[in-house]
């Protein structure tokens, strides 16, 4: 078996592939919170499986070492992993938007699926999953429901700040003015979308566009993105598994060379 693992800031995902399956059907997938002890979580997620190779991506990729796992390990960046994963699921894709826990990435692909150009947020978590997660707690709404909650709003209220802390200040002052909290939530989703459309235009937005990463589970972001870009993005069934899938595909190609 080949294991692909994506260790992000919030969660880690695992995908198993059969080296002999030319269709690369996913044999098994798992998901776990990263927590403050990713090394122990890594052991748990690998429990009971004995892959020939582990291919790791995500900001915790360097944690996955031969010493720790007892098998050959390789690593690749999330950019390449998403490119590989998306090219497998959507062979025609030319642009990827990946919004994860603490990073947002826009990737443009060449016709052969290779990365042509990419953009990534450089320091803070503005406009990422963490931004939504933090603001959902302010609204006291579970993060999984935050998107549908916002969709019940009618008129998005303008939130100017991209910074999580300032956006919260803006949101609470709008609440204090008695504005409809659903409209405020809609506005917050809108600010994420504004930021990502800029990034997409910088890499040159070619269709088809695939939207992946944890935030692609949020229906409000999908809707607003579609409106803003006048393009409807394709979203994988389980958008947060794409990185792990890409890592596994990379692992497979490494195994073949060996």
């Amino acid at each position: 078996m080949i294991a692909g693992i994506d260790i992000g800031s919030r969660s880690m995902e695992l995908v198993l592939l059969d080296p002999d399956d030319t269709n690369n059907e996913i044999v098994l997938e798992r998901r776990l919170a990263t927590t403050f002890d990713p090394a122990s979580q890594l052991k748990i997620i690998l429990d009971g499986i004995a892959p020939e190779i582990i291919s790791a991506t995500g900001y915790g990729r360097k944690l996955v070492t031969e010493e720790l796992c007892g098998v050959t390990t390789v690593s690749l960046t999330e950019i390449k992993a998403y490119a590989l994963g998306v090219a497998h699921l959507f062979p025609e894709a030319r642009t990827i938007l990946d919004i994860g826990g603490q990073d947002t990435k826009a990737i443009s692909l060449m016709k052969n699926g290779k990365v042509a150009k990419f953009e990534m947020n450089d320091r803070c978590a503005a406009g990422t999953g963490k931004f939504l997660e933090h603001l959902a707690t302010v609204f006291q709404i579970p993060i999984a429901d935050f998107g549908s909650y916002a969709l019940e709003g009618d008129e998005p209220l303008m939130i100017n700040s991209m910074c999580t802390v300032f956006a919260e200040t803006e949101a609470t002052s709008l609440m204090a003015q008695g504005k409809n909290p659903r409209d405020i939530a809609l506005g917050l989703h809108g600010s994420i979308v504004r930021r990502t459309t800029n990034m997409l235009h910088r890499v040159g937005l070619n269709e088809p566009l695939v939207f992946a990463g944890g935030v692609a589970n949020n229906p409000c972001v999908i809707n607003m993105l579609t409106d803003a870009l006048k393009i409807s993005p394709s979203v994988p069934d389980r958008p947060d598994m794409v990185g792990a899938l890409g890592a596994a595909l990379h692992g497979k190609s490494v195994l073949k060379i060996c």
């Binding site: 900001y59 960046t77 999330e78 390449k80 290779k114 450089d122 320091r123």
Partner: protein, 425 residues
Amino acid sequence: MSNSAYKAMWENLNLDIEAHDGLLEVLGKFYGDIYMSQEKRLKGMEYLDFVLSEVHGLRVKELMDAKEAGRKIIGTFCVFVPEELSLAVDAIQVGLCAGADAGTEAAETVVPRNTCALIKSFIGFKMAKICPYTESCDLIIGETTCDGKKKAYEAFGEMAPMHIMEVPQRKEESDRALWKSEVLRLKDELEKLTGKTITAESLKNGIKISNDKRRALQRLNTLRAAKPTPISGRDVLLINQISFYDDPIRFTQSINTLCDQIDERIANSEGIVAENTPRLMLSGCPMAVPNWKLPYIIESSGAVVVAEESCIGTRNSRDLVDESCETVEEMIDAICDRYMKIDCACFTPNNERMDNIKELAEQAGVDGVIHYSLMFCQPYTHEAFKVEKTLASENIPMLSIETDYSMEDVEQLKTRVEAFVEMIS
């Protein structure tokens, strides 16, 4: 480094001993991690390790001895200040650009927060009293390049003796005339400071010494571009950095010795990395000691740096002063011509930089370019767009990085650089 032996000297220079010890510790640790860990290093690098280990010791002692003997120390922040003139009055010229996050809080009391790290650092070093070079200077030459520096010199001038040169921003006839008058004004100032008159003989000698240094660096730049890469990018950056501190004649000799060793390596097809390692050019703002952050990230990400298009790189060594002149007047003209070729982003439209980048990329056989601008550096951040366009027309991929001296963005930088290396591999 036997620090205790130098303590009295540092005290005499009025350094803040405790803060200075802290700086040396960080510098030593950085250097150990980034330089001493390298494999297959050239023997000749021992000289540079030695110079760096003694950068606040022996070299400063030499400056003190020179001062004792009546020579003057001239500090600079820009490659526009002609070293030929300083040498012609038997003065010692040193670069004062600083590459560490130190004294930033103090600096932010006199310059705005959105000032580039290089400026904040040289002001911080002065205010925190941790730079023996700054403290040794008899005169510091500033220049009107970017707005950040220009205004920062007003604050700096209250703390140290300064002379400001006006550097034009375009390359018309009238700009050349202005520049010449500024070179002559500097000549007067240096003659006044030292009590010496610049003669045809002394100026010729100054030109020769500076050109020899440039020729050694040019030789290094040609040799390093060999495949497989015979020397790491980090080491070449260090050499360029040290060229601003070390005695020019000794430095030139050591670099030529090092180049002889590189010649041998090339003859044996020996490289420090595998032949198929992606080759990158770094282009943009200068990287002053100990700013090794980005080159280290690049070279830990499976790529190797084979060219530096910056002032602590090829911009400083590319052009020579014509050596065929005989009179002071002719030599001054030759100096003006050479310096007007500098393709700094402070000029407009500065299209020659684009040509030079293309040429260098081709000579060095690069697979990609990483454009580096310091955060808040207007001139280079602007030109990053033009550079990207220029390179795109040659099908050379470019990654644009904007960063500073802090370590907070290291993880994200690693991901971006690694992804770029994956992309071009």
